[in-house]
Symmetry: D2
Subunit: 291 residues, 4 copies
C-alpha cells in the first residue's frame, strides 16, 4: 500500500536577529489520500477494500494513497497476524511527519454515524496541530444529502443480480445504530419504495429490524427473498447474521417463514458504481473550495 515517498526540499536561507544564517527547509506542496474503513479481518472482505484502492488510484493516479482502520479490535487482531494497519490518528500523524501538506481523508462509511463523527472529530483535531499537514479535509460518507441518497438508490437498483425474477423481494441488510443517524435507514427505505414496493431495508442493530419486514413481505405476496449487504464489506454481519446457518440468522428466519432465500455475499465497496460515489466525494474535497 503506497509507493516509496519522493519529496524534495527547497532550501531557504534565513538570517536571524544576530545576523547568523540559518537554513530552513520548505517542503513542496504534497497531497495524499487517506482511505478509512472500519476494517475487516476477512480476507474476502479485504478484496473489496483492494477494489476501492484500485478505483481510487485510477481516478487519482498521481496521488499517494494510505489506509487506516478505525476498529481497535480488528487492528489488534491483524497485529497478531503481523499485519500492521494504522488508526486514523496514526496515519495522519505519520503523513504529517513525512511532509504531506494536504490530506484528503475519505471515509468508506455508509452513513454519517458514530464512526464517521469520530473520524470527523479526529480530522478537526489534526487541523489544530501546528506541525502537520496544513489542510486535512474529510469526504462525505456514501449517504449524506438528498441528492447523494437519490444517486445511491439509483446505483442500488443497478447492482441487483440479473437472476432476480419479477416478484422477488430485495432485502438490504444495513448495520443500524443507537446513534441518531439511524434515521438514514427508515429514510432510505422511502427512496427505495419510490422505485419498487419490493425493495426493503432493515438493520441488524437498529430500527427497522427484520421483524418490521415480515408483514410487508406477506402483504406483497413475496415467495423469494434476495439478501444484499448494505455495508461496505461482506464481513462478519453478512457472513453470519445475514447468510449464516445459525437459527437466528436472517436467512434461517426467512426460510423458517417459508421463503426461498438467496444471499449475495458482496459488500457495497465491491461495486464500481458505489465506489464511484466515494470517488466523487474525494473529488469534492480535493478540487472544490470549502463551503
Amino acid at each position: 500500500m503506497g509507493e516509496p515517498l519522493k519529496m524534495t526540499f527547497l532550501a531557504l536561507i534565513v538570517f536571524n536577529l544576530t545576523g547568523m544564517a540559518m537554513i530552513k527547509e520548505i517542503p513542496k506542496e504534497k497531497t495524499g489520500i487517506l482511505l478509512v474503513s472500519f476494517g475487516t479481518s476477512y480476507s474476502n472482505a479485504q478484496g473489496a477494500l483492494d477494489h476501492v484502492e484500485d478505483q481510487v488510484r485510477k481516478a487519482f493516479p498521481d496521488i499517494e494513497i494510505r489506509w487506516a482502520f478505525t476498529s481497535d479490535m480488528i487492528r489488534n487482531k491483524l497485529k497478531k497476524q503481523n499485519r500492521y494497519i494504522d488508526s486514523p490518528a496514526e496515519a495522519m500523524a505519520k503523513m504529517g511527519s513525512e511532509g504531506f501538506t494536504r490530506i484528503a481523508v475519505q471515509s468508506l462509511h455508509i452513513i454519517p454515524g458514530e464512526e464517521y463523527e469520530s473520524l470527523q472529530k479526529t480530522v478537526n483535531a489534526f487541523n489544530h496541530i501546528p506541525k502537520n499537514a496544513q489542510t486535512i479535509r474529510l469526504g462525505k460518507p456514501l449517504l449524506y444529502r438528498n441528492e447523494d441518497i437519490a444517486a445511491v438508490c439509483d446505483v442500488l437498483e443497478k447492482i441487483i443480480p440479473d437472476e432476480r425474477a419479477g416478484g422477488d423481494a430485495i432485502v438490504f441488510m444495513g448495520h443500524g445504530t443507537p446513534h441518531p443517524s439511524n434515521i438514514y435507514y427508515p429514510g432510505v427505505q422511502y427512496y427505495l419504495w419510490e422505485k419498487s414496493a419490493l425493495y426493503f431495508l432493515a438493520t441488524v442493530e437498529g430500527y427497522p429490524g427484520l421483524n418490521e419486514i415480515f408483514p410487508k413481505l406477506e402483504e406483497q405476496e413475496v415467495k423469494t427473498v434476495w439478501l444484499v449487504p448494505f455495508m461496505s464489506v461482506a464481513g462478519d454481519h453478512a457472513q453470519n447474521d445475514m447468510a449464516g446457518d445459525e437459527p437466528e440468522s436472517w436467512k434461517s428466519q426467512l426460510e423458517a417463514a417459508g421463503y426461498l432465500v438467496k444471499p449475495v455475499l458482496k459488500g457495497l465497496a465491491g461495486y464500481d458504481e458505489i465506489v464511484g460515489i466515494w470517488v466523487n466525494h474525494l473529488k469534492e474535497v480535493l478540487y472544490e473550495p470549502e463551503n
Copy 2:
C-alpha cells in the same frame, strides 16, 4: 418574561502575596432555562410560544426562564415594533453577566438541522468563555433518536382532530432543508406508515414535497385531506404555503385535484403532549449526567 433576579453573594476573604486582604464574591449556584425558537412575528404564533413557557414553568417552577429567537430577520422586524428579543448569544452573554452558573438551553426546533447545529455551536462556544456560566447544555430537538421519533409519532396520532373521519388522509407539512438532516422527513414517514397508510409527511422546501404525495393519496382512494403543520408554530408557512388561498398553496393544489381540504392552524408547540417531549429533553440536561 422572567422574574426579578434574586442573587446573594458569599464573601470570600483572600490574602494576596503581600498579605493584603482582598474580598472576592462567590455567586451561589444559579440555574436558568433559555428557550430558543426560530422566532415569529405572528401574534397568533406567539401564543404557541407562550404556551410552551407556561408548560415549562409548571415543570420547573423555581427556575427562571429566558427566551431567544435565532432569526435575525424576525428580531429586526420586532425591533421596529419596539419588541426586543435577544439572539441566543445575547441571551447567554447576559445570563452569564447576571451570575447564572448553569444554563439549560432548550431548542424548540423539530429536527437537528442547520438552525439546531448553529445553536449547538453557539452553546459549545459559550462553554469556552471563561467568565460565564460554568455549564451550558443544550436539550435535544423534538426528533433525535429512534425512541424520540417513536414517542413523537405516538403523540402526533393523538393530536389528530376528533372530527377526522375514517378514510380521511392526514398530511403533515414539515419545513424541509438542503441540510442532510432533511432525511428526518422521509425517515419519520416510515414510522407514520407503521401506524396508518393514511398518514403522510411532506415538506415545503425539502424532499419529499407535495408532488410525491399525490399518487399516494390516489392509491389510497382518499377523498378528504387534513393539513397539519409539522412545525413549532403556525406562522408564515402554515398560514400561506399550507392554508393560503394563493393557487400554489397546498390547500389550493389539493382542492384543484378534487380533494376536500381541512387545514389545522395550530403549530406543534400548541399541544401539551408535544411540549411534554421538549420538557423531557430539558429534564435530561438539568438532571442527568452528560453522556
Copy 3:
C-alpha cells in the same frame, strides 16, 4: 458612547426548491471597535478611559466604538448607580446581533496576563459562533514582544514629570499576578535599567514587590522617590496602595524609611504616547493580514 447605528440592507432574492421566492437581507460590511478595560468605578479614572476613546476616535473617525469592562464586581457596582456597561461577551453578542461583520477588540491591559487570556478565549469562542461577526480580532496589550517593550520604555521615560530632579528615583507600580505573565515585571525592569539605574518597577500583588526595591534605593543613595502607576488607570491601587495615607501604602512605607515621596495620580491611559501604542495595535488588527 457610540453614534446611532446606521446600516442599510441589500436585498437578495433567493428561489427555494419549490420555486417560491424568499428575500434574504445581506448586511453590508460593517466594522466596529470594542475597547475593553478591567473597568473602574472612580470617576477620575473614567476620565482616562474617555481620553482613550477620544484618541481612538481621532485615529479611526469612521468606525463606531463600543466599550466593555471585564470586572463583574465593577459592572455590578456601576449597575447600582444605573450605569450599565457590557461584559466583553455581551458587547460582542450585541454587535453581532446589530450586524457588525468585523470587530477589532482592543484590550487596554498592560501585560498578556490572566485578564487578557480570558479575553482572548472569549474572542476565540465568538469566532466559532455561526451567526455573528465573521471576523473578530484582538489587539495586543501594551507589552508583548521585545519591540513593544522597547517602545513602551521609550514612552515611559517621556512621561516622567518635568519637575523630577537628577538624582530622584522613579518607582513604577505595576499590578503583579500569580499568572506566569508576572515575568513581564522583572523583565521590563531590565529594559528600564538599560536607560537608568534610577528607574524601578515593582508590583502590588506579584514579584518583585516594594521590599525588593528598598536595598536598591539605598545603594543608589536616593533621597526622593516619584511613584508612578504602571496601570491603565489610577484607580483603587494607585489611590490607596500607592499614594494612600494608610501605614502599609507605598508612600507611607517609603516615607517611614526617610524618603521624600511624590506620587503621580495619572494612569498610563492618560498619556497620548501610551494610547498611541494601543492605537498601533488596533491598526495591526484592522489593516494587517493575520500572522
Copy 4:
C-alpha cells in the same frame, strides 16, 4: 526505549438490540510518560537526554516512557542514520492505538515559547480525538511561574563549577526568540542579579544578546568569564555559537575583548537538580487534579 507492552483485557459481554451477544474488550487503566525534546543529532547531547530518561525512570519506575522530538529537521537527519524518532503527534497517536488511557507529556523546553505552545496545541488537539487516550496532560517547561523561576535560579547557582574563583563572571547562554516568551530572559536576569551582580544571562537569537553584556562585565571589572549553556542540551549552539573557534562565537568575541573564557559544555538536562524540576512538573500532571 521502552519495555515491551504488557496489557491485559477485560472482556465485557454486551447484548445488542436483537439479543445477539457481542464481546467488547475494555482496556485497563494504562499510564505512560512521553518526554518531548526539540531533539539533537549530537551523540554527546543525546547523553543528556538519556540522563533525563534515567532520572524519570527512577522517579516513576512502573510507568512506561516514550520519546518524541519536535524538530522535523533533526528527525529527518536521524532517519538517514536509520534512527526513527516520533514526532509528538506520532507518539501520541501510537500510544492511543496501543491502549494507553492516560499520558503525561513532559516538555524538556526551558521557557513556554513557540515550541512549547506548539506542543500544547498538539496535546489539546489530541484531547479532542475520540478514540485515543482519555487524558493527556502537559507538564510545564523549566521556567513558568515566579516560584519555578526562583527554584531554577537556586539550582543554577549550584551547578556553577567549583573551580570558579570569586570575581569570575558567569554568562548563561539562552536561545532567545522573536516570540513574546523572550521576556523570560531579561526577567530571569533579575532573579540572577538578586543572587550576584556577576551572573549574566544573554541569548543567541533574542534580547538581550552578548552586546548588552559587555558594558556590564566592564563595570564589574571582570577578568574571567565562564560560559554556561542555558539550554537543555549542549548541541549546536553550545558547541559552535558559544564555545566554537569561529571569530563570531561568544568565546572568540570575549577573548578578543581581553577576557579569559572558560566554556562549560554540558546542557541543563545533564544536571540532576534541573531534571528534578521537570520530574516535579511530571508529578503535578500525574498526581495533582487539573487546576
